[in-house]
Amino acid sequence: MKTNRTFWLLTSLLVLAAMILSACGGATATPAPAAEQPQQPAEQGGLPKGDGKVTIYGGYGEAQGAAFQKALTEFGQANGIEVTFVSLASFDTDIKVKIEAGQEPDIAMWPQPGGLKNLAEYLMPLEDVIDLSKPLSTLVPGWDKLAVVDGKIYGLPVSANMKTLVFYNPSAFAKHGYTVPTNAAELEALEAKIKADGTGYPWCAGIESGGATGWPFTDWLEQYVLDFYGPEVYAKWITGEVDFASPEITKAADEVAKRLLAEGQVNGGGISMATDSFQNTAPLFADGKENGQCFMLRQGSFITAFMPENIQEEIKAGNYTNLDVFPLPAPEGGQAGVLGGGDIAGVFKGHADQDVAKVLEFIFSPEVLKYQVATGDISPHKTFDLSLYPNEMQRKIGQAMANAAVFGFDASDQMPAEVNAEFWAAGTDFVAGRITWEEAAKRIDSKYP
């Protein structure tokens, strides 16, 4: 009897031990096999050998993600690496959850450099993984300054988009005898003429975008800050040295208000801008003021993906009778700057191995975008083969990017996440006419630490 008891006692102890072990096992079985590897020197040869698998998380839409994966698979097959791209629904939030859970990928791509910089403690400087001279020699200047922490580059762009674009409907312009404005005076004259003719509204300008409602307004403001004051003030504005209540930013805000919030500039005024989705491009192709027709849409290059299907078909076929672009004329007393955004990739600490390095080199090269350009993305590289762009319009946009002298990355995306969120929210309230710019500026400034 006694021995029987001891036997059972031991067995249950074993079971208990198994339980504790399995509980611990669950906690540490995170995909970080290289977590204990010491930091490796810059040469790829010094990196540990990879396991043949590389995971990338990003915030791409469906079409972008598929095209990106296609390029990755092609590269992976040629190099014997299995590269998987996963798009997170709300990247900025989800990636933090993944990090907390110890489930971070090898590489992640932030749509906003601010988000990457906030998490720099989890990332490693790129120079410790790959030789940076190659990507840096082909990138348009400015892109390398976005994700710098303590003097080291933590992130470089993979894809880009451009926001200094005005989309318009050439056939509607032709019908009413309007011409594309090339300077501030012509733009104002055109706006006045559209209103006087009663043919529609000069601008299409929805700023609703779910949780990010307000960002199209921030783009407008950034454009005018960059145009009026150039990259210096623009950079100081991002870091908070020039605050939102300053005369500079206020002047830019006044310019936006003149363009969009003045009577008759946008269908339904500010309140309908605040509730109208930025994706709603249909009014650009409507006919007549009673149908809410608007004539110009200042948006990023990606907006073509939200155009009506028939328009997208036309563009694909190289038919520009119903949609074309022109650069937004600089305001009186300003110089035209190019504003854009893009996805910035960084690599997580403990994940650097030879495979990851190879994949990094590939995504920081112009070649990675050869399929993705079909979805509206453009390359941040000067050397990107322009003939790869799927159509004339995008080639125009891509060329403008490649030739950009004053390039400004979306400012709000570089501000601290909290400031950015308040910029969106207070900007929306300002557009909706609920508060003055003074009040909005005060609210945003208070979010700077």
Binding site: A18, S22, T213, A286, G292, D429
Partner: protein, 326 residues
């Protein structure tokens, strides 16, 4: 496939291990002298559950409270600064006001509609009753986010001239008024009330079903006695039926009250807290996940916990009263 196997294995081991654990405890107890064992065996069996509760529920609560006195990254102590920031921020006071309005309006309306639906549906005969109740109960099967999407279309606003998609605005314009951007109107917190309508719509079914079953269990004799005494239907309802189901009504009320205190999904899906519709739980989400400010986020949630705690107590009290009535 590997993950599934691993998960199944984990479940198996888990079940076996918990069985083994209690078995082991029992065994260990059996070694103790009879006298001590009789007095302490409840303690031995309670301990594992108590440890789990402390680990999973109590410890995070205290951690959150501790964090609320720390900075954005939860590294340095800042004293009461987070709380001072909150209560000097006029927008946070608006958030509190919004939460207060939610609590004031939604549980009361839900219970009132639910009771009315329950009482009326009892009068229309079994066939109609089941149809009637199914219709009212149906929204219960819709998730909060899906319901928000449906109602977002109901409230949708489009600029003049564009094809109308909002049902409410279609009704308004057909009556000759001009369409309104409903969810942006915060005079008198109208937009918050519009969000509340979604929750009332979702929860009336629940309140109706629970209260209806209570009404059905009211003894027939008491009603007959009242009828013999010449009471009219109103008097029967308010003087005879309602007092007898009051405990149920209160427990439904408190359940919905607590649900509403924590309301989050509706605000997230419909306005994202814009236009002065934010509430405490949403403010916490924004601070914690979007701004990564651990300290201030913890302060927000601590305020919420402090406000909910008395409600929990109230709920336990009503549950206890229910028990006593039985």
């Amino acid at each position: 496939m590997g993950d599934i196997l691993f998960g199944l294995l984990a479940i198996l081991i888990g079940v076996a291990a918990s069985y083994g654990l209690y078995w082991l405890l029992n065994l260990l107890l059996s070694f103790l002298p009879e006298r001590i064992r009789k007095k302490s065996d409840w303690l031995a069996f309670l301990t594992p559950a108590a440890v789990l509760v402390i680990l999973i529920l109590v410890a995070p609560l205290f951690q959150t409270i501790v964090w609320s006195f720390m900075d954005d990254r939860a590294r340095n102590w800042v004293g009461f600064e987070n709380y001072i920031d909150l209560f000097t921020d006029p927008r946070f006071l608006q958030i509190l006001l919004n939460n207060f309005l939610w609590v004031l309006v939604v549980p009361a309306l839900t219970v009132a509609f639910g009771t009315a639906a329950a009482a009326l549906s009892n009068q229309v005969g079994p066939k109609l009753e089941s149809i009637f109740k199914s219709l009212i109960f149906m929204p219960m099967s819709i998730s909060f986010v899906a319901a928000s999407t449906i109602w977002a279309y109901f409230y949708a606003y489009v600029p003049p001239g564009r094809p109308e998609v909002g049902l409410l605005n279609a009704v308004i314009t057909s009556l000759g008024y001009s369409s309104q951007p409903w969810l942006t109107i915060d005079e008198w917190h109208i937009n918050s009330f519009l969000l509340m309508a979604v929750v009332v719509w979702l929860q009336v079914g629940y309140s109706m079903v629970v209260i209806s079953s209570a009404i059905k269990s009211v003894p027939e004799e008491t009603i007959e006695a009242a009828q013999l005494d010449g009471a009219n239907p109103w008097q029967i309802f308010f003087r005879i039926i309602l007092p007898q189901v009051w405990g149920t009504v209160m427990s439904v009320f408190v359940t919905i009250l607590i649900l509403v205190m924590k309301i989050f999904d509706i605000v997230l899906a419909m306005t994202r807290g814009n236009f002065n519709t934010s509430v405490l739980a949403f403010e916490w989400y924004k601070q914690f996940f979007e701004n990564s400010n651990i300290g201030p986020a913890s302060a927000v949630i601590t305020v919420l916990v402090i406000l909910i705690a008395p409600l929990m107590w109230l709920q336990i009290q009503t549950a206890r009263q229910q028990e006593m009535l039985r």
